[in-house]
């Protein structure tokens, strides 16, 4: 990641002040801030961002995994957070390898994460520890494979 430049986004500064180890990197692109969070701090960082009175990221907009196969760690999981009263958005990103595609569930922080995590499990095969009901949601239950992985063909035999 780029060396210590002053943070443009005050939320990142605040996050660093809370726990420096939780910010493994920051990406600024087209006015959007992405904070790269190590997996072990994800749950705590989410809780902090959602409940800290000066931040109030009480709305989880979306969870989007991206598969960068064959690059390792292949999965990037993006959490799009929104603070309705502060009119602010931020994106958290966790990178995980294909061999160990497990993340802590954030359903306890935002109940809406339930279906988003099920979708990520269904289409990418990422497991969420602590999820109350982790099963396929869009594909049939007996389906084999994870269709949105890059090594899963769009057409022809699997």
């Amino acid at each position: 990641m780029e060396p210590q430049e002053p943070d443009k986004n005050p939320v990142v500064q605040q996050l660093r002040g809370w726990n420096g180890a939780a910010v493994a990197g920051v990406v600024e692109f087209r006015g959007e801030t992405t904070v790269i969070v190590p997996r072990e701090y994800l749950r705590a960082a989410c809780e902090y961002l959602a409940t800290e009175p000066s931040l109030r990221f009480s709305f989880l907009s979306d969870i989007t995994p991206v598969d960068r196969f064959p690059i390792e760690p292949r999965f990037e999981v993006n959490y799009h957070l929104l603070s309705i009263d502060r009119r602010a958005r931020i994106r958290l990103r966790v990178k995980i390898s294909g061999k160990d595609a497990v993340l802590p569930s954030v359903t306890a922080v935002w109940p809406t994460a339930n279906w988003h995590e099920r979708e990520s499990f269904d289409l990418f095969g990422i497991r969420f520890e602590g999820h109350p009901n982790l099963k396929r949601i869009l594909m049939p239950e007996e389906w084999e494979g994870y269709p949105l992985r890059r090594d899963y063909p769009t057409e022809g035999p699997r």
Partner: protein, 405 residues
């Protein structure tokens, strides 16, 4: 007048009791608005537990998008939410334009606003008509579809298609609008306020309508936020969040309109919000009609990315080369990820587009408001009568094409 239903408190409800009846509602059921299946556990007529089962209309749009060029994906977005295709076009085009760091000409921006607001009215009309027919009001359905037809005719006049218009393209619009198109829009919006009054005459003070919707499907503001609900579902619970105001796009900050909210959080509140939103959309359409310049570019200029004008393609060699390259190879935005959010008729519609620097997107993710809103269905109908499930499904205004993608 409100109908009160004796609801047993949650503690006395006996989920899993052998006496309970498990009922499959859908996936083929007229009031599920498509192929939604809800597994209901019933104690008599009281719903103890409701579990939505989705995926019957999953067509792999996000997967297909990865093997198409950026421009080809636009045709897929029409088919996500088939009641508001132009909203989807807009969200996706804005995301790609953000990736390209591209400014769209004002004329195209205003036309986009005008047409997406007409889309919102058309979508709300389908919602109102089907919601009313689900609850037994037949005539409203017929009136709503009559007016929606006029909106579809306007779309057809502009793009050649009634529903799957694909009229918005990266950088602007697909075609120059026909010269007298604003006349047709004016004819519609002059007649439409009287039609809204007509629907309100039929429903707003209607005792059956109030009985079926007031106090039914209550969602508190805290629950709505926790469940990620957006759009009229969130505003019907008293949270004044509208992407058009909070994060303006496509020049929405230049328009004067109000965010409609209601505090009751029941089906009736969401009805009031959506009807009021139709009136607000009319206001925006009127303003947009005054703002749209009669002539001017309808597409941005960016050689190699935006197709050149037809005339240029025929007369200049560069134009021909660019035209050929764009339609055979596509264009490659710089590597990066963007998340663009718009206010679709159903709520916060997000497009996450990741580019790896090639001509095809690495990932297109649709944050579908119907998908997220549907998750709150058990909250709305548990503890209520089975007849209210129909009202609760209707009030969430889901489009199964968007839920399953």
């Amino acid at each position: 007048m409100t109908v009160t239903v004796e609801t047993p408190p949650a503690t006395t409800r006996n989920i899993g009791n052998a006496q309970n009846m498990v009922l499959n509602m859908g996936p083929q059921h007229p009031s599920t608005h498509g192929v939604l299946r809800v597994i209901l556990e019933l104690d008599g007529e009281i719903v103890l537990k409701a579990e939505p089962v989705i995926g019957y209309l999953h067509t792999g749009i996000e997967k297909s998008a990865e093997s198409k060029t950026y421009s080809q994906v636009i045709t897929l977005t029409d088919r996500i939410d088939y009641l508001a295709p132009l909203s989807n076009n807009l969200g996706y085009c804005l995301a790609v334009e953000k990736l390209l760091d591209l400014e769209v000409p004002k004329r195209a921006q205003y036309i986009r606003v005008l047409l997406t607001e007409l889309t919102r009215i058309g979508s709300h009309l389908v919602w109102l008509g089907t919601h009313a027919i689900d609850l037994g009001a037949m005539s409203v359905f017929l009136y709503c579809f009559r007016e929606r037809e006029e909106i579809l005719k306007i779309f057809e006049y502009l793009s050649g298609q009634r529903m799957m218009t694909s009229y918005f393209r990266v950088g602007g619009l697909a075609l120059e609008p026909p010269p007298d198109w604003l006349e047709r829009v004016r004819r519609f919006i002059d007649a439409f306020p009287a039609h809204i009054d007509e629907y309100e005459d039929l429903l707003t003070q209607n005792r059956i309508w109030m009985g079926r919707t007031q106090g039914v499907g209550i969602l508190s503001a805290a629950d709505a936020i926790a469940m990620g609900c957006s759009g009229p579902l969130l505003r019907g619970s008293g949270v004044a969040y509208d992407v058009r105001k909070a994060f303006p796009y496509s020049s929405y900050d230049e328009f004067d309109f109000n965010v409609q909210t209601h505090t009751a959080g029941d089906c009736y509140a969401r009805y009031v919000v959506r009807v009021a939103e139709m009136r607000e959309s009319l206001k925006i359409v009127r303003q947009a009609m005054d703002k749209v310049p009669p002539t001017g570019p309808f597409r941005a200029e960016m050689p190699g990315i935006i197709p050149p004008a037809r005339e240029e393609m025929k007369t200049s060699i560069e134009g021909l080369i660019y035209h050929f390259k764009i339609f055979t190879e596509g264009f490659a935005p710089p590597p990066g990820e963007v998340y663009q959010v718009i206010e679709s008729p159903r709520g916060e519609l997000g497009f996450f587009v990741a580019s790896d620097g090639s001509a095809k997107p690495l990932r297109v993710k649709v944050r579908a408001p119907s998908f997220v809103n549907l998750q709150s269905l058990p909250k709305l109908c548990e503890g209520r009568l089975i007849a209210d499930v129909v009202a609760c499904i209707g009030t969430t205004d889901i489009v199964l094409g968007e839920v399953d993608r």
